[in-house]
């Protein structure tokens, strides 16, 4: 047997694909040689030979196994690996030829012609080129090839078709085709994409390369780009001008049956723009400008010709439309700027006018009840800050006119309550309690109610006084509670609450003393409400008033009086020692038993009236001067009292000369012809309206009190801090003091305290104060 010569076998380097190309230098022997084995072991061959020989001579396996000859190991043979004589080379023009194949394929793709090369081969071609480090060249060649086709295609669009829709369709088709083509090419050159492109920096993927080429040539063929954009804008404009009736939301605007626009076309073309990365620059910007112009014009036109309700409905429709537009074909990123633009033109610019047009709060209410308007107007508030600004200024202006109208002071609280109630109704019904709206109302109210210092607080106290007095027939307990709560809301907005406190206390005292409270429960409820609002400090003194055995009032004693008091005083102080008794002469009342010739009567009268009447026990006729001297009642007060006795409905005295006014020379007589149907008669003292002086003095007291509070606060702060700068002290004071105060007033108090040596200025730094213990 021939021994097989050892042969060096050159194998293909790449055996993974299973595609092998083998080059054998020598012909193979008849024994099949496994191509992968590179080395032959002679010894092994021998063994094989001898075995096979034996197997053929004797029969059966057992023969082989049994008679395995032990062969002594042969010495290792030398193996020789011989290199190939020459490096295997590529065939000549490998690159060119391969490229030619590819090129024709690419061309065919672009030209939409059939190619006779199957994809497998093309793929392989790319592979080969890449393996032989020709990827770079390949890439460039592909790029060039693509470019020439793309440029040609786009150039061919220039001057095509006057009809915009037709043109756009052409563009669309071109783009679709391009995408398909590029995809195919990419498929073929996948290997290139995955190796060369990935491994090389600054080299785009084939897809991106293609897009970039397309974009480049589209901008070169600028006419095409502009015409496309123009076409798109025109389509959108026509769609806007003729809204489609079939759209579900526009129930109201059934105008001309639309030019139904091909939305798919729009969609695809806009996607193209996005893919090319030119969407925002080339399309969105001009689109928004266009939109802006369109709605600017429309806004002005519609505002002039329609009433507010219709206008708002129309705007709502428009906004829905634009929203849908984004869903259907515009890029999602356009939605926000688009809606903003539309709103700006349709609403923001006209907000002021809209609110003006809606005359009065009630028509505004009716305006907002339709749900659509409500939803959209909520948008107004959230998106358009001018909406809430305009609303705020509207509330302020209206409220301010209520508050500052001095002639209508009597009705101020009532008007404010009404106003607030109507705003709240809108807020609840039409705005689903939108927070921003609520805050706008609150801020505006806080501002407007404090425009006029002190007076609103006073009036609110008065209002409450009226409500809590007896004689409010027809208000149920619930209603009263409701009113109290509403008033409390207003109260919250006031900054100078101590003014309210002063007046409220005074009126409460009067009510309790005169027994004019409608219900003690209501009073207590109000006090507890105030307590919740302002803390117990506020209401401590008030609560003390309820105990009849402790008539501790702050109301001042207005006038001198006569001796009758002393009797009572003696009595009282004898009964209760250690108490201070303060006479409220203007509030006292008595029941007098009077004997008229025509019948006995009981007269319920005020203290002053009593005093005057009792003079007539000793005299039939008295002059004004006499009465004045005897009673020492203050002049104005006396005249009022005499008026109530002699000039009103119940005339227990007669005045001479007759008349409404009490003059110095008048004289008064016991009316012996007095009659009245009832036994017990109330002689109304002419209501002691709070005089202007009383009013100012109450206010002054508040200010005086504030001064003490400031002083106390300054001392308190300085005592803790010992050393503090001026600015920090002022800041602290503003934080601690609950009423509004000017910095110059604070300075005054500080200087007063320096003068009284509670503080001093630091010797080295005049900006700092030291506490003087």
């Amino acid at each position: 047997m021939k021994k097989a010569k050892s042969q060096a076998v050159a194998c293909s380097l790449d055996s993974k694909n299973g595609i092998k190309q083998h080059h054998f230098d020598d012909a193979t022997t008849n024994s099949s040689v496994d191509p992968f084995s590179m080395i032959e072991d002679h010894a092994e061959t021998d063994v094989v030979d001898s075995d096979s020989a034996r197997a053929s001579s004797s029969g059966g396996f057992t023969a082989n196994l049994a008679r395995k000859k032990a062969i002594p190991p042969q010495p290792a043979k030398k193996l020789v690996i011989k290199l190939l004589k020459a490096k295997p080379t590529l065939p000549t023009n490998f690159e060119e030829n391969t490229w030619a194949v590819l090129k024709s394929a690419i061309s065919a793709i672009f030209l939409k012609q059939p190619d006779f090369c199957d994809l497998e081969k093309l793929y392989q071609a790319v592979n080969d080129l890449c393996l032989h480090k020709m990827g770079g060249n390949l890439y460039q060649r592909i790029e060039k090839e693509c470019e020439s086709h793309i440029s040609a295609t786009l150039q061919s669009l220039v001057g095509q078709s006057e009809d915009l829709v037709v043109f756009l369709s052409l563009v669309e088709t071109t783009w679709q085709d391009f995408c398909d083509q590029l995809l195919m090419i990419r498929g073929i050159a996948l290997y290139l994409d995955r190796t060369y492109v990935k491994q090389t920096t600054n080299v785009r993927s084939l897809w991106d390369m293609g897009l970039q080429l397309f974009r480049k040539h589209l901008s070169i063929a600028s006419e095409v780009e502009h015409k496309t954009v123009f076409g798109l804008l025109k389509m959108i404009e026509s769609e806007r001008s003729f809204p489609d009736v079939n759209l579900s939301f526009s129930v109201i605007c059934a105008t001309v049956l639309g030019e139904a626009v091909d939305r798919t076309l729009l969609n695809h073309l806009l996607k193209m723009f996005t893919a090319l990365g030119i969407y925002s620059e080339s399309f969105e910007k001009p689109f928004l400008d266009c939109t802006s112009e369109f709605y600017a014009a429309e806004g002005v036109k519609y505002m002039q010709q329609s009433d507010v309700s219709d206008y708002l409905k129309h705007v709502e429709v428009r906004l829905h439309e634009e929203h849908d537009r984004c869903v259907l074909y515009l890029d999602a990123s356009t939605r926000k700027p688009l809606l903003a633009t539309a709103e700006r033109q349709l609403l923001e610019r006209h907000i002021a006018a809209i609110l003006e047009k809606a005359r009065g709060i009630f028509s505004l209410m009716n305006l907002f009840l339709p749900v659509h308007s409500a939803i959209f107007f909520r948008q107004v508030l959230t998106f358009a800050t001018t909406g809430s600004r305009a609303l705020s200024s509207y509330i302020r202006r209206t409220g301010q006119s209520i508050v500052t109208d001095e002639e209508k002071d009597k009705d101020m609280v009532f008007s404010l309550l009404e106003f607030k109630a109507s705003l709240d109704a809108i807020w609840e019904d039409s705005f689903s309690k939108n927070e921003a709206f609520c805050n706008t109302i609150k801020e505006a109210f806080e501002h407007l109610i404090n425009i006029r210092q002190n007076r609103p607080a006073e009036l609110i106290a008065k209002f409450l006084d009226e409500k809590l007095r007896a004689g409010n027939k027809g208000t149920s307990e619930e209603e009263l509670e409701g009113t109290l709560d509403k008033v409390l809301v207003l109260f919250r907005f006031i900054q100078g609450k101590d003014v309210f406190e002063a007046f409220y206390k005074k009126d409460l005292a009067k009510r309790l003393l005169l027994g004019k409270s409608a219900s003690i429960d209501a009073e207590k409820s109000m006090i507890s409400k105030l307590k919740t609002e302002c803390g117990s400090q506020f209401t401590n003194k008030l609560e003390g008033m309820y105990w009849p055995t402790y008539p501790l009032m702050d109301v001042r004693l207005p006038h001198e009086l006569n001796v009758y008091q002393d009797i009572f005083k003696e009595f009282y102080l004898s009964k209760y020692s250690g108490r201070r008794l303060m006479w409220q002469n203007s509030l006292g009342h008595c029941v007098l038993k009077a004997e008229f010739p025509k019948g006995k009567k009981e007269l319920a009268v005020s203290l002053f009236q009593t005093v005057v009447l009792m003079l007539f026990n000793d005299a039939q006729k008295l002059s004004f001067q006499d009465i004045k001297d005897a009673t020492c009642i203050e002049d104005k007060e006396l005249r009022r009292t005499l008026q109530s006795l002699a000039c009103g409905k119940v005339r227990v005295l007669q005045k001479n000369p007759k008349g409404r006014e009490v003059d110095d020379n008048d004289s008064f007589m016991f009316n012996d012809v007095f009659t009245a149907p009832l036994y017990r008669i109330k002689v109304n003292a002419i209501q002691l309206k709070e005089t202007v002086e009383e009013n100012t003095s109450t206010t002054e007291r508040v200010f005086q009190d504030r001064q003490y509070q400031v002083d106390a606060a300054i001392v308190r702060i300085m005592k803790t801090r010992k050393v503090l700068s001026h600015t920090l002290l002022i800041t602290e004071l503003f934080q601690q003091l609950k009423f509004p105060i000017k910095p110059s007033d604070l300075k005054k108090r500080i200087e007063s305290l320096i003068d009284r040596e509670y503080l001093e200025r630091d010797r080295n730094n005049p900006q700092i104060y030291n506490y003087l213990a």
Binding site: H726, T727, I730, S744, K747, E751, D755, R761, P766
Partner: protein, 225 residues
């Protein structure tokens, strides 16, 4: 008197200072005597103090008007407590410090005194002294507007003429304040020193300036517009 110069001994060197002391001691006593003598030449015999009359004659001898600021400076030097009166102690203190025991020497010392007072470190003290000096009643803490105006003229007129003129004008026109207290008085001096004039550009009413100055600045500004 033993001639100390001829004294010998180890105490020679140190004794010279003692010598000086001894000699100045003598001189000092003489000086003191003359000062006292001068005092009594102006003092009122009954009260034992120099009273306003005495001060007037002092002034005429010094050839200085009694409203001259230098008299106030003299009072300051003496730390005189009561306006219009000098006590012996005060007199001694002042004249000794000025090294003046005769009228002529006193007159000669005045310019030097003025220079000393006008030194910035001393002027604040003098300025505040001037205010206190005018508090004539016991427990008096403020001075009426008119007197303040005169005092300002006297004390700051030289240094801060324009500010003083404006402020005085303001004080005489306004109605909020009838008197000025020490805090406001000192505030004004600081004001003249720190605040640029006449624009008041660096004045900040939110700082701790006395309120009267805030009002003053506002008044000036409203005049300017």
């Amino acid at each position: 008197m033993p001639r100390t110069a001829s004294k010998k001994g180890p105490a020679n060197s140190s004794s010279s200072s003692a010598v000086d002391l001894f000699r100045s001691g003598k001189a000092a006593t003489k000086e003191l005597e003359r000062i006292d003598q001068l005092y009594y030449s102006y003092a009122n015999n009954l009260s034992g103090m120099i009273d306003p009359e005495g001060i007037e004659s002092l002034c005429s001898d010094l050839k200085v008007d009694h409203t001259d600021v230098r008299i106030l400076m003299l009072a300051w030097k003496m730390q005189a407590e009561k306006q219009g009166y000098f006590t012996l102690e005060e007199w001694r203190k002042g004249l000794k410090a000025l090294r003046a025991d005769t009228i002529i020497k006193l007159k000669k010392a005045l310019p030097e005194l003025e220079k000393e007072v006008r030194r910035p470190s001393n002027y604040v003290e003098f300025y505040s002294y001037a205010f206190r000096y005018c508090l004539t009643e016991e427990k008096q803490k403020s001075i009426d507007i008119e007197s303040i105006c005169e005092l300002l003229e006297l004390v700051l007129g030289l240094q801060f003429r324009p500010q003083v003129d404006l402020f005085v004008q303001y004080l005489r026109t306004q109605i909020d304040y009838k008197v000025i207290n020490m805090d406001q008085w000192m505030g004004f001096y600081r004001f003249c020193q720190e605040i640029s004039f006449p624009d008041f550009s660096n004045y900040d009413a939110e700082l701790a300036w006395p309120l009267i100055l805030d009002n003053f600045v506002e008044w000036v500004r409203s005049k300017q517009t």
